[in-house]
Symmetry: C2
């Protein structure tokens, strides 16, 4: 959105003299009230200014909020997720760490026939690796976080939902899963993952001028 | 910004039939062109629609971009940074990892008299811990990333700058530093750090309705 220089002047005058009437604004700018009407209409409709009846105009704190919120809830997990990187629970911790480095990721999902059974993070690996255990002989199944203790997200949830889960549960990465009923039992098919990196990229996209 | 239901209808019609003239829109909505004029004025001024001369209206991809950009470049590193967590280069790797866990962070800065001399991340720790070295006997100085190979940011840089550095250099956390001249030499005083967690929190704040 590009504001005209007069609209910017109006915003500054309102910020400096709240609340201010349209008569007062017109006189400060040396124009008629009628000439100001279209500008004031745009500035109030966009939420940059708020018109308080019988009081005047004040500056509203979060002009773009509604639009940003719309954009973010219309951005789905499937639009921002990365490919999952998975191992099986029989994989030895050492091999899983090598796989983690090879794929340059911070966490792995643990799968059985494509379905989620666990997750393991750099933090979990570091804990076991510093413990003096022989990590060539310990399988991932021993150290992973297991269902149902795993926070997941669906591809249809939005960017706000997933960022909120990441912050609230203090996790770096969330598996993206689709529910499937297999022999009467609900299973979670792993289809992706969303990390703080994906959110940071979306943040840049939001603010990018280009 | 709150759009009226007619404005939302117009946006959808434009999305479905680009480019579309105001005559066509008026006829689809069963109103006169004159009645549409204020809505189209607001939608083009906000950048939600773009009016292409002699062609018609098209949907513009990033309606609120200018305003969000303003907000983000006005959000400074000092507004979003966390406290730094530092060790000295003589600290043994094992003790540093314990300190990392105690502080529940993903990386440490390495300091000498408050000035930045290195950084070490969970990834660096994992690499050394899986290598079979006795991490009780290796000091941080041996494994840390040293100046001048450290990406830093100043408290006065903005949220966009720091998110960009994080993505471009593929790092989880950036030390926030202030330059000081000590005995004719430039030194970097550690004043904070910004991680993807801080950016994810800012993303939530941006999109929060409350």
């Amino acid at each position: 959105m590009k504001l005209s220089s007069r609209q910017k002047k109006i915003i500054n005058l309102v910020k400096e003299n709240p609340p201010v009437t349209s008569e007062a604004l017109a006189s400060m700018l040396g124009v008629t009230r009628a000439a100001l009407r279209p500008d004031l209409a745009v500035l109030t409709m966009t939420g940059i200014l708020e018109a308080k009846p019988k009081v005047g105009y004040v500056y509203a704190d979060k002009p773009f909020r509604g639009l940003v919120y719309d954009y973010i809830i219309n951005t789905k997990v499937k639009d921002i997720m990365s490919k999952p990187v998975s191992v099986t629970e029989e994989t030895m911790v050492y091999d899983a760490i090598v796989y983690l480095f090879l794929n340059d990721v911070g966490s792995l999902t643990v799968e059985s026939q494509g379905f989620l059974i666990g997750t393991v993070s750099r933090k979990d690996f570091l804990k076991i690796a510093m413990g003096g255990t022989d990590i060539h002989k310990v399988p991932i199944g021993v150290i992973m976080t297991r269902m149902p203790n795993i926070i997941t997200v669906s591809p249809e949830e939005n960017a706000y939902d997933v960022a909120k889960k990441i912050i609230e549960h203090e996790i770096d990465s969330i598996p993206v899963v689709e529910k499937e009923i297999i022999q009467g039992k609900e299973q979670l098919k792993i289809v992706g993952k969303v990390s703080k990196t994906n959110i940071t990229r979306l943040f840049l996209r939001l603010s990018d001028l280009k």
